[in-house]
Symmetry: C2
Subunit: 561 residues, 2 copies
């Protein structure tokens, strides 16, 4: 097993390195390696992935005993939903691109229609694959499946890298164009970067549809990067689950998303979002205008400086409540959770790194200026907020879900279920003895069916007699559990809901174009244009991903609280 993981990991590493070398060559030497070359490489990879996915869907997964176990933690609904959502936006993006290229067909090559088509096919197939198979613990063709998964992960990573470098260079070009525009007071289109110097000849005709394609392309771009990263994380969990065997004894009672009793968090959060959107609008109008004035930056940073300490304090309170609760810790093996923790910590590094660079730059120049002191406190608070939120979420993810027990009691099988769920999750990861195992599992299934029939028979007898009593009992217990939702659980839910809403607005702002770290010009002049550009290039996409990922983590904390 280890050997298979090592081998497939090495495969992915080599593909990623080759791809990044290609990408860097394209960035630093436009002439020798063009964007078309990179696209050819990526298309080859995509076609290989498509072949493997098709083979998996039609061959591997349909073999007998291929998927005996499903990891109930893997691929929760919100992850699969975001795969679908971001996937459909990415498809739209590619459709726009095809449309744009078709209008300007006279100066663009045919391949610019072929590549997006392959991309669309790849996104559709992958989304379908992930929606249906993200929980699989495949038991056949281990090594081939591992290699296929790793190849797909590598392809997605490279697509992300391309999107990130493209996105930021696109930003750069846009800002340069704005200057040109200002100078000539004419209208210039947003050219596709790297693809030669057809900028001058390729001008978007003044039709609405062309403008729509251009604008849509710019708006939808961020979703594409998120799509790649989300796919990577789901695929990684699948890769970890290859060959894993999960005991049948752990029934996973899904806690439901319910809103009862939670008031303060949503209220405060919605207020934050509304104010945030106003600030964002004003920022966008002012900062993308002719000359960004100081006032708009002061407003933007003030908003953050009010919001961030609030979030930090709330997260600290949440952590303290977690410590007070003394709920038992969930120590079962759970690749999804381990990955979540690593991603939270890793993605936070981007934001924290950027903040430290800002801090050093400001302290070294002039920390007493109003705007500078605002940026300084903004950076410090951001670091503090990231750390406290991470501690809160990681702490919350390791708690046993509370609702599970309550639900079980509701259903009236409390004793039985509790006994079952208290059994330690015996995990066997050996791959031998497949035959006996499937025999065993069939036996268990038969037993379970008999038990169910028996229960059903019993209940039918009972139900006629005690129906009224049952209903009364159920409604009583509901009211009971509702009113007795302890203050600790209530507070945890309020806190996590509030943090979810805050993270949404903090995700929206950088995703849709507010990049004050770049636009305020302070760090840019301190580190020099290209250095600061590289730092932002690394940090910003990670911080956007961090916000999205912590929304997921916080939702999980909310549900299990």
């Amino acid at each position: 097993q280890k050997a298979g993981q090592l081998f497939s990991g090495l495969l992915a590493m080599n593909v990623v390195f080759l791809g990044s070398a290609f990408l860097s060559s394209m960035i630093f030497n436009h002439v020798a390696i063009t964007l078309a070359d990179v696209w050819i490489l990526l298309s080859i990879l995509k076609v290989l992935c498509l072949c493997w996915i098709t083979y998996y869907l039609l061959g591997t997964s349909r073999q007998p005993h291929a998927v005996l176990y499903r990891d109930s933690h893997a691929g929760p609904v919100w992850i699969r939903g975001s795969v679908l959502l971001f996937g459909s936006f990415s498809i739209l993006l590619n459709v726009f691109q095809i449309g744009y290229s078709t209008i300007l067909i006279q100066c663009k090559s045919r391949v610019e229609i072929v590549f997006p088509s392959i991309e669309i096919l790849f996104i559709c197939t992958q989304a379908f694959f992930l929606w249906h198979h993200s929980k699989d613990c495949i038991q056949v063709q281990h090594n081939f499946t591992r290699c296929g998964l790793m190849l797909t992960i590598a392809t997605n990573l490279l697509l992300w890298l391309l999107a990130v470098t493209n996105d930021t260079i696109h930003m750069e070009i846009e800002s340069q164009l704005r200057e040109v525009e200002r100078r000539f007071a004419g209208k210039a289109p947003v050219p596709h970067p790297y693809l030669g110097n057809e900028t001058t000849s390729c001008i978007c005709p003044n039709t609405t549809i062309c403008k729509v394609f251009q604008k849509g392309y710019i708006l939808l771009y961020p979703f594409n990067t998120e799509y790649c990263l989300v796919c990577c994380s789901v695929l990684y969990v699948m890769w970890k689950n290859v060959g894993r065997r999960i005991s049948h004894h752990v029934p996973h009672i899904k806690p439901q998303f319910k809103l009862h009793g939670v008031v303060l968090g949503p209220l405060l959060g919605t207020m934050t979002i509304i104010i945030g959107i106003c600030v964002f609008m004003m920022y966008q109008i002012q900062a993308t205008g002719s000359a960004p004035n100081r006032q708009v930056f002061v407003m933007y940073y003030s908003y953050y400086i009010v919001l961030l300490p609030l979030m930090s304090v709330v997260a600290v309170i949440g952590t303290i409540i977690h410590a007070l609760e003394k709920k038992e810790l969930d120590t079962l093996k759970n690749p999804t959770r381990s990955l979540d923790v690593i991603l939270l910590m890793g993605a936070a590094l981007g934001q924290i790194g950027m903040s430290y660079f800002s801090i050093v730059a400001i302290v070294a120049t002039d920390p007493r200026d109003l705007l500078n002191s605002l940026i300084l406190s903004y950076s410090v608070l951001l670091i503090f907020q990231n750390i406290t939120q991470n501690v809160f979420v990681i702490d919350g993810l390791h708690r046993q879900p509370f609702v599970a027990a309550a639900e079980a009691r509701h259903a009236g099988h409390a004793g039985q279920h509790a006994a079952a769920s208290e059994l330690p999750g015996e995990e066997e990861t050996t791959t031998s003895g497949k035959e006996e195992h499937t025999q065993m599992s069939r036996d268990i299934e038969r037993e379970m069916k008999e038990e169910q029939n028996h229960e059903a028979y019993d209940q039918r007898q009972v139900s006629m007699l005690e129906l009224g009593q049952e209903i009364r009992k159920a409604s009583l217990s509901y009211i009971h559990s509702y009113s007795h939702l302890s203050w600790k659980r209530k507070a945890l839910r309020e806190i996590s809901f509030f943090l979810v809403l805050c993270n949404i607005i903090l995700w929206v702002m950088p995703t849709f174009g507010a990049h004050p770290v770049f636009e305020n010009g302070l760090e840019k002049s301190f580190y020099g244009y290209s250095t600061w550009f590289a730092i932002v290039n690394f940090g910003l996409p990670l911080s956007v991903f961090y916000r999205m990922h912590s929304i997921g983590g916080l939702l999980e904390v909310y549900i299990t609280a």
Copy 2:
């Protein structure tokens, strides 16, 4: 426990980020942040570490029940030896620097004597600490110790970062100076980078001692970088071992380093080293001369192209023999080994990344040129060699040591020891129930002592009578085991010894100044000076560390084979 690890990890992360922001500011904005500022920051960190180490040596480790267990895998002799070796070279380096600054005291500030003094104190204390305490599994003041260790790790990492950036920029300055020298045919000293523009006023007087200080400084520099990394890895293992409890039932029988029966490997390896040194000498003389000609590059790369496939093939054969042997795998928890595996894979990334960049550059320019095709095959072979060697070493590290059993049989206690070593290592990482545990361990110690006394008494009775017979038996068993060293074990030893020697020469060449990736000019012109410089800056120190680390790993494989 997890909380303590998380907290101390966050501390280290923040320190490292702050330090790297300082370093980057120094590199990209010489005026605002000078090298002196960075030194002040690092000196503060060093003093904090010194305080903690002193407290640990005098306070924590002397408390009752502080060190009940020692991790026998941690801090093997070759690691502690290299700490001492590199540490003493680093001290020498600092002495040279102090001497150099004292000679040029009229144009240098006093702090340039103060900082190296602090550095010397830090290196001495740390080396002493690591020599004596690297095996400790400390049981008191967990969190404080974790934070102290993490602070020391962060400081060492920052020292490494500073050394790496300094080292390469030093290279750059040297190469620029050579040009200046050529132009003016005069003599210019090697200035200290960053420390303002005293270059012109600070010329080394034409005394021998000043030249010695300069040359020694340049020669000893690489050891300093290695020292920091080695310290980091030892400290990390100590950090992982804080609060760990190890069962007393697993006696660790140290396999000895013996050379009997191994001939072919050392012979071939020594030949390789001798040829390598000749190639290196010629390269150094030619390439650092006025105009490096193609011939010397052809010679250098040819040497590698002959050597690398040989190493790869040998490693593959070794892996196959490992697979044939069917020795049981060692699956006990072992932080030292996990770290070794991660470091091997991580450090290899530097070399592999650089190779991929070279490949893309060559393929995109002109792969048919003689020198280019040599570089191309060199890069491909290097990737292949790194991967095969990693697989071989990782495979070898996970095998049960063979010698242990043989030694045990020698001693005549075969049954007893084998039974003891087959017991699974029961590890308890809970921190509660300390009292009972220490009670238990005292009981066990008393028992063991009694047993030993008993054995000794028995043996004394027996010894007088059967001494002659014993000696005869021992020598017979020695000859027996010597001749019956199975061909598989013999082959494994030959292979690992050969690879050790090869890695030594591959370590010596880049460490002492052969950097053809930089001097051949191909990639430099393709990616542009600064980009390629950054790539080499990242890759080269890692590849040097990789060679050193794989020497350690291969020695372990040799001993346990």
